[in-house]
């Protein structure tokens, strides 16, 4: 029951998905879609496990006064307020994301700036990573940094203004050598995925189940 049944479930689900792909007739035609919807539902339930894990983690920190427990109060308060705002807006406006609802306010003035600023940190990190890592140690590394520099310069208005055909060069690098290597990597990667999937369906790879 603990190990056998899950292996059978994986096998049957995997094989059904593959077979259904080739059969348009009912009930196979929309089986893939149906399974994915089921997956979304399972994921929705599991979200409760997730939020519970997060709350427990921080409650524990608060209870044992572990280092930084004060900030844990911030997280827990954030969760509680958001849940209240969310369910209130859902109830009062029929959808949580109604314009003017408290839930939407939370999204617009807290999540959006946090999200976009976190995202914008990449502008800094991309520069520091380039500075540190792009050194012409080997032929490969040299070509990498030259390709990076050419594409960078070819994409901006100032690069265009230099009249060195930089945009054309950048486009060529993207369309020819870049495409070629990407294809090679894609072919390898997805062959790997096929083999991995077969191992999983056959039950040879079963790390995700403990005994």
């Amino acid at each position: 029951m603990k190990r056998g049944v899950p292996l059978i479930i994986t096998f049957v689900t995997g094989v059904l998905i593959i077979i259904a792909f080739f059969i348009p007739h009912k009930p196979f035609g929309n089986l893939e879609q149906r399974f994915l919807i089921w997956y979304s539902i399972v994921a929705g339930f599991t979200m409760l496990l997730g939020i519970d894990s997060l709350i427990k983690y921080h409650i524990r920190k608060i209870r044992f006064r572990e280092k930084g427990w004060g900030y844990s109060i911030v997280t827990v308060t954030g969760i509680v307020i958001t849940l209240i705002f969310g369910f209130y807006s859902w109830y009062a406006y029929h959808t949580p994301l109604a314009l003017g609802s408290p839930f939407m306010w939370l999204y617009t003035y807290m999540i959006v700036p946090l999200q976009s600023t976190m995202f914008a940190l990449l502008a800094f990190f991309i520069a520091s990573a380039a500075y540190r890592a792009f050194r012409a140690r080997t032929i490969e590394a040299t070509l990498l940094l030259i390709a990076a520099a050419l594409v960078m310069l070819g994409r901006v208005p100032l690069g265009e203004a230099l009249r060195l055909k930089l945009p054309a060069i950048a486009n060529w690098i993207m369309e020819v050598p870049q495409t070629a290597a990407k294809r090679g990597i894609f072919i390898g990667t997805y062959l790997g995925a096929v083999a991995m999937s077969i191992r999983v369906i056959l039950g040879i790879e079963r790390t995700y189940l403990s005994t």
């Binding site: 995202f119 991309i126 050194r135 940094l145 960078m152 100032l158």
Partner: protein, 272 residues
């Protein structure tokens, strides 16, 4: 040679500071370099410019916060153009969490031009479902938007009383980060002959060019660069136009950093 060592092992916070400054300073001083105006943007501008005052322009906010740096400037520029020419603006959208961005833009630009809610513009908000609404509005807008986003009946706004379907919309502007542009062309454009302008992220723009060539849309504003061109046509450089130098300089600066790092690296290697 201490300096050399310092350059090679520079504290990354110095790089952070420099990148920050390279972006911040051009923005602060509003340095604007003229950008070559591309044909699709020029067409979009001229289409709006040719509308008689009092025309109704519908703007669909089909982007969300992650693509706001690209889409917001073109939305603001279009709004300014409309209000400057005394066109009336009707905002709506198909992405629930894109609508606040529409409201932020309206609030900001309406103040600049002294425009009034319900007289010069309205915000209808979000309703789920793309095609049903796009097709349905060909018959009657009230089937979907009997009220604006605040729940006020749209008939309480004088100018909206005469707006029933696409016949009463002189121009539709879709600001899109996804495939909504195609749907508008297909359902509002082809079916009801609605005139359309598309503003989109740099990634989506190439997919839309065929519609411009076939005459199904009036113009395209693509990416931050397209927005910068539009701002330049408006003679009102803003976020995109003043972002352009920052964009260029920061790219050149990163390349410069890479070169510096390598010079240091080579000198040190030779010394060993």
């Amino acid at each position: 040679m201490k300096i050399l060592e310092k350059i090679i092992n520079i504290d990354r916070r110095v790089i952070f500071l420099l990148i920050g400054l390279v972006v911040f300073i051009p923005l602060l001083f509003k340095i604007v370099t003229p950008t070559k105006i591309s044909e699709p943007v020029k067409k979009a501008y001229e289409a709006i410019e040719a509308l008689p005052p009092g025309s109704n322009v519908m703007i669909s906010i089909d982007f969300d916060p992650t693509s706001a740096p690209e889409c917001m400037p073109m939305y603001i520029a279009i709004l300014r153009h409309c209000f400057k020419r005394n066109l009336r603006v009707i905002v709506l959208g198909h992405i629930a969490y894109g609508i606040p961005l529409g409201e932020i833009g309206l609030e900001k630009v309406s103040k600049e031009f002294g425009k009034k809610y319900g007289v010069d513009y309205v915000n209808l908000g979000f309703r789920p479902g793309y095609t049903a609404i796009m097709v349905g509005m060909g018959r009657e807008i009230r089937d979907f938007y009997a009220q604006d986003y605040r729940g006020t009946p749209i008939d309480s706004f004088p100018f909206m009383r005469d707006v029933h379907n696409y016949n009463d919309i002189e121009m539709l502007v879709d600001i899109a980060h996804g495939y909504s542009a195609e749907l508008w062309v297909q359902y509002a454009g082809a079916r009801y002959g609605q005139r359309i302008i598309i503003g989109s992220t740099g990634v989506v723009a190439p997919d839309i060019y065929p519609y411009l060539q076939s005459g199904q849309i009036e113009g395209i504003i693509g990416g931050m660069k397209g927005a910068a061109e539009y701002e330049q046509l408006l003679k009102r450089p803003d976020m995109a136009a003043i972002g352009m130098p920052a964009l260029s300089i920061s790219h050149f600066f990163i390349v410069f950093l890479i070169i510096m790092a390598n010079i240091g690296f080579f000198i040190r290697r030779r010394k060993r």
